[in-house]
């Protein structure tokens, strides 16, 4: 029998009480090998105002490009203590920060490898269903041939690629509307 997926509803303004027990802004403990990165950014609304009540959920592969999930049948090692999941709220200034390791490349459509990336859900009051986007890494040669980035208009691709900031961290913002609006993906949600 065929059912229809339940209708999505907004997380509303009070999700913190239900979801913060699973907040995880350090995706990889010090013991997890790989290139450690700190990613900072802001979520901005259509007026350019910071969004103080947004939630980002991150999903990524480990440094070998292996997902800790039964659907990943690649012959690559898992990393002890690394699940690849993060949950990070914005603060009152609309800022978020998380620490992880840069994932390895993962397989993509038609045998083409995907450049290292994080997949990210963005949830907040005002969004009746989540937004889905990706974060790619700066000055990363595989970005040029990434099959997903290449589906995005060239002038908008930069919204998906973090910037190397002077403090040694990466900077990546989620811009909900306007000229620099972040690219969001249609996953058929």
């Amino acid at each position: 029998m065929s059912l229809q997926a339940t209708t999505s509803q907004t997380v509303g303004p009070y999700f913190k009480i239900g979801l913060e027990w699973l907040n995880r802004s350090t995706l990889a403990a010090e013991s997890v090998a790989g290139e450690r990165v700190t990613i900072r950014g802001r979520v901005l609304d259509g007026d350019g105002a910071p969004v103080p009540d947004a939630l980002l959920e991150i999903w990524q592969a480990n440094r070998h490009g292996k997902y800790a999930h039964p659907e990943d049948s690649q012959d690559k090692p898992l990393e002890a203590g690394f699940t690849g999941f993060g949950r990070v709220p914005t603060n009152n200034a609309g800022c978020f920060q998380f620490v992880t390791i840069k994932p390895g490349p993962v397989p993509g459509p038609n045998g083409r490898e995907q450049a290292p990336h994080l997949v990210i859900s963005v949830l907040m009051r005002g969004l009746l269903k989540r937004l889905v986007t990706r974060l790619y890494f700066p000055n990363d040669e595989p970005n040029g041939s990434d099959p997903i980035l290449n589906l995005v208009d060239a002038e908008r691709r930069s919204t998906l690629i973090a910037n190397a900031a002077s403090g040694g961290h990466l900077e990546w913002n989620v811009v909900l509307q306007g000229t620099h609006e972040t690219v969001f993906f249609d996953l058929g949600l």
């Binding site: 509803q9 999903w59 996953l187």
Partner: protein
């Protein structure tokens, strides 16, 4: 990689648009440019995994998190989590949060002039069993006013968050109560073109879930997206 299938697209009218003008907060937060269509890849058909040990065994009961019992009408909320192919989804994390019986959330942003209940936090977590079943004990949440429009009130509801087997199946929704007179006026509940879809957000009073001399039971089954029949090229 073995070939894999993607996920089914929603039946037309059963999911909201990002921009829904009657819901005022969507105006400045919904994207204005078209979403970019992408194929499913390994990144979207995988996702975080949970197991029964991921949550405290006591986290299903929102009425026993403090020294005393919360005020209000004790209820049991339970049901099954299935996918669109009617397959029960085991080991799915279900997180809930809600207002107390007076319609007030234990959250610093909620300034509604209704009392907090020292014996009620309003959040719980469970992981579904092998048959996709979940069960919470809680109190019936109160309705509360909000600023969306003149004399706006939210119908009583419980927020639900579910992961399912993949990044693609993540769902956040709300459960409502049968017979709530506020439902026809709520822009969040009424966000879909399909009336049947929105009515599936209303729980069903259920004798089987009801515990004699203890609590009325409400059944709320949740359907997450199911896999497509045709494998993708990988």
């Amino acid at each position: 990689m073995k070939p894999f299938t993607g996920y089914r697209s929603p039946y037309p009218g059963t999911q909201p648009n990002h921009l829904h003008p009657p819901y005022a907060s969507s105006a400045k937060r919904a994207p204005t440019r078209p979403l970019v269509q992408i194929p499913y890849t390994l990144s979207e058909i995988t996702g975080p995994s949970f197991e029964p040990e991921s949550v405290s065994p006591a986290a299903y009961d929102l009425t026993r998190q403090h020294d005393g019992e919360p005020l209000g009408e004790r209820i049991v909320v339970g049901g099954r989590v299935l996918d669109e192919n009617s397959r029960p989804l085991a080991n799915t994390l279900v997180e809930i949060w809600q207002a107390n019986a007076a319609g007030r959330y234990r959250h610093e942003v909620d300034q509604h002039d209704a009392p907090l209940d020292p014996n009620f936090t309003g959040c719980g977590q469970v992981v579904t069993d092998a048959d996709g079943r979940y069960r919470f004990v809680t109190i019936r949440p109160g309705e509360y006013p909000w600023h969306n429009h003149y004399n706006a009130w939210r119908p009583a509801h419980i927020h639900f968050s579910l992961f399912g087997p993949a990044f693609a199946t993540r769902l956040v929704t709300q459960m409502f109560f049968p017979g709530d007179p506020l439902l026809p006026f709520d822009p969040i509940f009424n966000c879909t073109a399909d009336e049947k879809a929105r009515n599936r957000l209303i729980s069903i009073f259920d004798w089987e879930t009801t515990v004699p001399r203890q609590a009325l039971g409400y059944r709320f089954d949740i359907v997450l997206r199911g896999r497509d029949a045709t494998p993708m090229e990988e």
